[in-house]
Amino acid sequence: MLRKMKRFEYFEPSTLEEAFSLLNKYNGKVKILSGGTDLLVAMKERGLAPSYVMNVKCIPGLDYIKYEEKKDLRIGALTTIRTIETSNVIREKFSVLAQAASMLGSIQVRNRATIGGNLCNAAPSAETAPSLIGLKAKVKIASLEGERIVPLEKFFVGPGITVLKKGEILAEIIVPFPLPHTKGIYIKYGRRKAMEIAMVSVAVIATLSVEGEVWEDVNIILGAVAPTPLRARKAEEVLQSKRISEPLIEKVGQLAYEEACPISDMRASADYRKEMVKVLVKKAIREISGLKKS
């Protein structure tokens, strides 16, 4: 079925400065094009018709994975999801992110889709958001005025809305080196295994205490159950510095259930999503704790 886009004026800046000046000149009317897997679909399917489209893929120096032992991981905004999925260092040291990346769309989509696009598109179901928030990632935002760094947790404002202001570009994702004994898991739930936007997703990233007995610094992030990726703070708190037990896991699941505030849509009802939050949070915690369901 042919879905023709409306015509637009196309720009291909070769430096960030050029990109900023175009953004400022066409104030609010220009759409940034990275992989295009969200933007072009919106233009074809949902009648989005920007007057100007600016492809940023010709700007050098925005596509990289830099890792510094004991310090941090830096990912350029234009890095594709496929590159993240297959990166050895991300697989080894930040496996929860590689895991999430591998669940986004198909290989064809992942070969185009960028991490910057996934975050800036700000879908409540954005695949890479829960694990990155759980890993305490920050984003570097660049504009003519300079750079600013925002914790990813504060980046999302609502469905499709972020703190990015006119004239700003997401440049880099910074993931701090995790403490020793940190484990993470990401579970995506959809009707089928492949090619499905998450109905509900859960990332749990937690650090085991020095004695190895209790989970400290627990991060539970829920996808697709609120206007933005959601931290289940009450659920996190009950787990903090406690010895894991089945009754405690039940309680955590119940709290996460209460914190989720999903909508009903064509993929699932709100009630069903809430139930699935409970199931998936419990499953995630059992898995990182090495417990099997009794």
Binding site: Y10, F11, G36, N55, I107, Q108, N111
Partner: protein, 161 residues
């Protein structure tokens, strides 16, 4: 600009052509170059019928602007046949009966080709991941997976001998 002269290398041949900003790579391949082996299914990234190799990697050509493919190399299904001889993957699809209506086949074959270029010994699960973005409404996938693993086997044999 709303129009641009671009250069594309498709199946080894250089093409220079004027494209509009809103033309996709798929539009150009089918309607301008008349390479209609590449199919248009959904036009929004869901079905994989439009899969081509862009710089060696499988992508949905319905989600790539022609204008951004300027200077790049594209392989379509027509490019797999060398001097009238089908590629091993194509042969395997025929031998295993992995084709019914054939609409998904060009995309399926290119996804398989990309997998086997990187991995000569894929597991069944790796094969399924590789074709997860290619929908087939006829075969039920079993024969397609079989065809890909049989092509892999043949490739391994050729390399050994």
């Amino acid at each position: 600009m709303i129009q641009k002269r671009i250069q594309l290398k498709v199946n080894g041949e250089e093409y220079k052509l004027e494209v509009k900003s809103n033309d996709t790579l798929l539009d150009v391949i089918r309607d301008r170059l008349s390479l209609t082996g590449t199919k248009r299914g959904c036009d929004t990234g869901d079905c994989g019928a439009c899969t081509v190799l862009l710089e060696g990697k499988p992508v949905n050509s319905c989600l790539v602007l022609a204008i951004e493919a300027d200077g790049k190399e594209v392989i379509t299904i027509e490019g797999l046949t060398k001097e009238g001889k089908l590629d091993l993957v194509q042969e395997a699809f025929i031998e295993q009966g992995a084709i019914q209506c054939g609409f998904c086949t060009p995309g399926m074959v290119l996804s398989a080709k990309a997998l086997l270029d990187e991995n000569r010994n894929p597991t069944e699960s790796e094969i399924k991941t590789a074709i997860a973005g290619n929908l087939c409404r006829c075969t039920g996938y079993v024969k397609i997976v079989k065809a890909i693993s049989s092509a892999a086997e043949k490739m391994r044999k050729i390399r050994k001998s």
